[in-house]
Symmetry: C2
Amino acid sequence: MSKDGDVTMKQEYKTKARGLIIDYLQQNAGVRFTARDVFEQLKAVGENIDRATVYRNLEKLCTEGKLLRYRENDSQAACYQYSEGHEQCDRHLHAQCLSCGRVFHLENEFVEEFEKKIQATYGIGVDCSKTMIVGRCDDCKTE
Amino acid sequence: MSKDGDVTMKQEYKTKARGLIIDYLQQNAGVRFTARDVFEQLKAVGENIDRATVYRNLEKLCTEGKLLRYRENDSQAACYQYSEGHEQCDRHLHAQCLSCGRVFHLENEFVEEFEKKIQATYGIGVDCSKTMIVGRCDDCKTE
DNA sequence: TTGCGTGCAAAGGTTTTGCATGGCA
DNA sequence: TGCCATGCAAAACCTTTGCACGCAA
């Protein structure tokens, strides 16, 4: 009888597919992408990794907190972003520019203050991994 | 030659489908729902409104600003919420409990403060109509 | 009469799932 | 050997689109 919270760690293998996908993340750190992007990029360089494999790996990385997943209003596909040096993305809020797609990590005191006030005023404990502040960054405002 | 920004108002008809959909919104004010929910509820009461018609009407209501549309991380389907008395939803932020689905309208001074600080610190002008703070409300924490 | 809204059907894109196979430890 | 990851194929969903028809103004 095994449960999710099992003490024994699930074993993991280093596979070609996973390696290629992680390479993709690192080469595209800070950039928004979809599962399709990964799939097609790998295909373009002659690596035939299956769609399902891409989805399964991205899902896993999200679960581990290494990858940020979110959805944009105008797109059916989920977006992902990998950020080198931000591997605890479930601990702080994020904001995204809907024009250039960049994601900013709001690791700031006033943001924590904000979360506390939301809790105090509305009784809502904010879930950082599922919240995305959306707007437009200064670089894109002049466009 | 007509354009989107035409001076002449597009004509609108009062139709059965639209009436039924607006009824649904009013009966479900403050509740999160999907296009599918609307479709199935109408079907359940014997009203065979087409899926496409539901989508088209919801889309239109969103464009008019009467309806809030957003996407949750874990669902492929878009979510909608109608709020009686909150017809200027593009002016304040919202927070949603991912357990019960309720949406809270953050019409509060400290929220505006927060938006200003985001602008000042990160250079991002927050778009309220596309942002959803996600978390868990007190009522659902005990569950 | 005019033109918008609807129903219908079909297509397109995204994501998941079951199963057999292959490969790493 | 044992078990996880992958590839493959199919299915499930969500959403959009084109077209012809009906109905309100």
